[in-house]
Amino acid sequence: MADELYLENIDEFVTDQNRVVTYKWLSYTLGVHVNQAKQMLYDYVERKRKENSGAQLHVTYLVAGNLLQNGHVCHKVAVVREDKLEAMKSKLSTIASVHVYSIQKALLKDSSPLYNTDYDIVKTNLHNCSKFSAIHCDAAVPRMPPDIPRAQTSLQGSSQRENDTGAPSAPAVNGHGPLAAKHPSQQHKGIMGMFAAKAASKPQDTNKETKAEASGVSTASSKPPTKNNIINNFFGKAAMNKLKVNPVPEQPKEEKEVVKPSVAVAEPESPPNPVVEKPGKRTESARIQQKDRKSKTKHVDRSDNEEERDPENTKRKRKRIKQLQSDSSDEEDVPPPPTPEEEKAPSPPPVPALKTELEPTTMEVSAGGRKRKRKRVLKSKMFIDEEEGCMVTEKVYESESCTDSEEEFPKPKPPAAHKQPVLPMKKEPKEERKTLKTGAAPANRANKQVSIMGFFHKK
């Protein structure tokens, strides 16, 4: 019976998971109206106490009412423990409402766990925070980006539309709920434009992979924050490789619209480094995007790296990447990698198409069998930026192997790549990189300085 289900749920939350179950938390978790959640909590308490009077349940109540204070009637809203409930009720001259606020196993010393529970659940449901509330507001509709400047004047028109009955308004506004979820995320403009998180683009993933990455790559040519290096630090080179790929297919359109607003923003920064920008931008947008997607891309990275790397080094790599990423997790949360499998499918096609700038680390991996330590070294790279028509020198952190196989960014093709060449060129870069790698490996070894002792072993 559906009725009994919630009782079991609450029981599980309170007893097994030892949570503080507030009405708000229950409302969001079970997806019910707040009033129903309050009633459910009360019902649970009553039944539990009836069947087992020694049950260890502590309940807090919300009491609201009028109170005479300092000569005027004050409306008081208070959260009280069960033992103080009657005392509070007696202090109020008229009681406006009493209901259960929360249930927990342990006796609470103060109300901060209640606040924390509510805060957490609201934070995870920010975009539909009024969904289960008892009041719905018609006027609370998020605007589309172009409407924002025209803002306030249209508000009166929309708010005049009255809604007399409660029921019809509920589905209407609930409809707004998911809409609202999308719109705010799409409306980051200007400064936030570069970091725009795209909520709606995920479904378009599979269809638009190849095209997407091409367009993404081509359009992404301009905007790079100088945080590239920092971002590169957070993710391993190999990780960045895959990271770049996956966000790209996931945001085909947004790249384009992001391009425009972010052009203005990134203009001052574009001359210096348009190349590593691409990895940077994508890693950045990957970074800024929603957690689940981010974590997925990271899973891909890790999974790809794992499968491609030398099995002996697998464990070492894994550890290192995880460590790197957990280091950076003060900015983003990295959930433990659960399912790399599903990401494997999208990843191979995009990987080769990565052509330019990127990650030579794939090469080093495929070479395999070598003992290597990866180090990050700040190197100066020079290349010709066709777009701007200039030569660009930039310092980039690259991870290098200290024993052999040098990875240097292969001579990058001009960032203004086109869609068509990408597809045919898919295979080329891979071969190119391979050859480059093998060819360059012995030659470049001399230039690397891995440790101070490397000085002396130059020959």
């Binding site: 009028n66 809203v77 202090k91 009041i135 009255e162 809604n163 705010p184």
Partner: protein, 468 residues
């Protein structure tokens, strides 16, 4: 009163879940127009001297004062300028007050090397018995003495004095008057209960969590999550929320970057960043349910001088897409549902408090209304934009609700004027210390405080006696 008639259903939620629980629609906005235009100076140039502010203030208020003077001392009272004064003649003079205070902090004195003064620590009040009042008009100034309360008045007030000049060059005052209440506005208020919630001093980012639960409770009551059905249906009649300043706490103002060594502060971010994020989340919750007007205050990230400009919407990325969020100036004037609101975040009142013997915020608020000027001490002791065309702080119409934020406690009073004005004066208390907000009923211009509380380890029965 809020929720008085809902008592019968108060305990309705103490029972097994019922079928579809009702949802109440928020009362729609009947009419809203923002009248804060004068508080947004289009061009901002600080190249002018502040003397122009006083000149336009005097020019703007002179007609009103002359009218009042004639009404009070007879239409045949002689109106003179200071340059036309004759010794011994009873006449009436209109001018600006200047109070010479010894303790008034003066930047020139502080940096003057010959005085070798240590900067004066901030005092709660700067008044002293030796203060003197001087009346200035466009050309001259004269010292005042007599039937005028030196301690009570502050610099910048436009006043009409009646008396005569003495032989020693001082003006002996027999009577004085102010601009009094401005002309009344027609009343178009709603006929059914509608509430506006006034809150100020949320104080986010203070590092202490006591007020956080209360803030959350406030948001929950307004958005209809908290309370039984009766209370929720009453909360649906809250048509607007006005946050009157100090959304951020004073603790976010610390400028470590100035005092500390760079290597210590390089990676730390300003405390206001986190606080603004919290503010954004709270505003998002409110905006999805009710129109909100956000006024900046003393500690908020906007300009310092009055009139403070609205917070920029780029700081509130989550909440700014909503049309229900209005970022407005301080002071703020608007017509809400036919009722004219005018209010500030409290800087004007607290500044007068420092330089006057008046102790009660409500008294000071009333006095500014009677003096016809929102903030007479600007620009003398309170930062202000150097206006030169007109002074927007002059009260030209009498609002229906006049409030100031960040007061130490809640007070309200309904003032009746001689010309039929009805003004509700409200001092909105600082929420972070009192956990109290105000509910103004637009139908009958009454105000009720609403207090929120959680429970703490030390709370026994002390909860109620604390007197919110």
């Amino acid at each position: 009163m809020f929720s008085e008639q809902v008592a019968p259903t108060a305990q309705g939620l103490l029972g097994p879940p019922s079928a579809e629980p009702p949802t109440f629609p928020r009362v729609p906005v009947l009419g809203y127009s923002d009248c804060s235009g004068p508080f947004r100076p289009g061009e901002r140039s600080f190249g002018r001297q502040y003397a122009h502010v006083y000149a336009v203030r005097l020019a703007g208020m002179r007609p009103t004062l002359e009218h009042r003077a004639r009404g009070r001392w007879g239409s045949d009272a002689v109106l003179r300028k200071l340059s036309e004064l004759q010794a011994g003649e009873k006449c009436c003079v209109v001018g600006t007050l200047f109070k010479a205070m010894q303790l008034q902090p003066s930047i020139l004195q502080e940096i003057s090397e010959e005085h070798n003064l240590v900067p004066q620590p901030p005092l709660p009040k700067y008044i002293q018995p030796s203060d003197e009042l001087i009346l200035e008009d466009e050309l001259q100034r004269i010292k005042l003495e007599g039937a005028i309360d030196v301690q009570r008045l502050v610099t910048g007030t436009i006043v009409a004095v009646y008396g005569s000049e003495q032989d020693d060059g001082r003006f002996l005052v027999e009577d004085h008057c102010f601009a009094d209440l401005p002309p009344p506005l027609p009343w178009n208020g709603p006929t059914s209960d509608r509430f506006v919630l006034l809150a100020s001093g949320l104080g986010l980012g203070s590092g202490s969590g006591e007020a956080l639960l209360s803030t959350q409770l406030l948001v929950d009551v307004v958005t209809g999550q908290l309370g039984a059905e009766g209370e929720q249906s009453c909360a649906a009649h809250i048509s607007r929320v006005i946050l009157a300043g100090n959304l951020l706490s004073q603790n976010t103002q610390s400028r470590d970057t100035i005092n500390k060594a760079k290597y210590l502060t390089k990676k730390t971010q300003a405390a206001s960043v986190e606080a603004v994020k919290m503010l954004d989340e709270i505003l998002l919750q409110l905006c999805t349910s009710v129109p909100v007007d956000v006024m900046p205050g003393e500690f908020d990230p906007t300009n310092y001088t009055l009139p403070q400009q609205p917070l920029h919407r780029c700081m509130l990325p989550l909440a700014s897409p909503y049309a229900t969020l209005h970022l407005v100036t301080n002071p703020y004037q608007a017509n809400l549902d036919g009722v004219r609101f005018l209010g500030t975040s409290g800087q004007n009142v607290s500044d007068i408090f420092k330089y006057s013997s008046m102790d009660d915020y409500l008294e000071i608020l009333e006095w500014t209304l009677l003096a016809g000027h929102i903030s007479p001490t600007a620009p003398d002791t309170l930062g202000c934009y150097p206006f030169y065309k007109s002074d927007p702080f002059i009260l030209t119409e009498c609002p229906h609700v006049y409030f100031c934020g960040n007061a130490p406690c809640f007070q309200s009073k309904l003032l009746q004027g001689a010309e039929g004005q009805r003004v509700l004066l409200v001092t909105v208390p600082d929420f972070s210390t009192t956990q109290t907000a105000c509910l103004v009923n637009l139908r009958d211009l009454t105000c009720q405080p609403i207090t929120f509380s959680g429970f703490g380890a030390e709370d026994e029965d002390g909860d109620m006696e604390v007197g919110h």
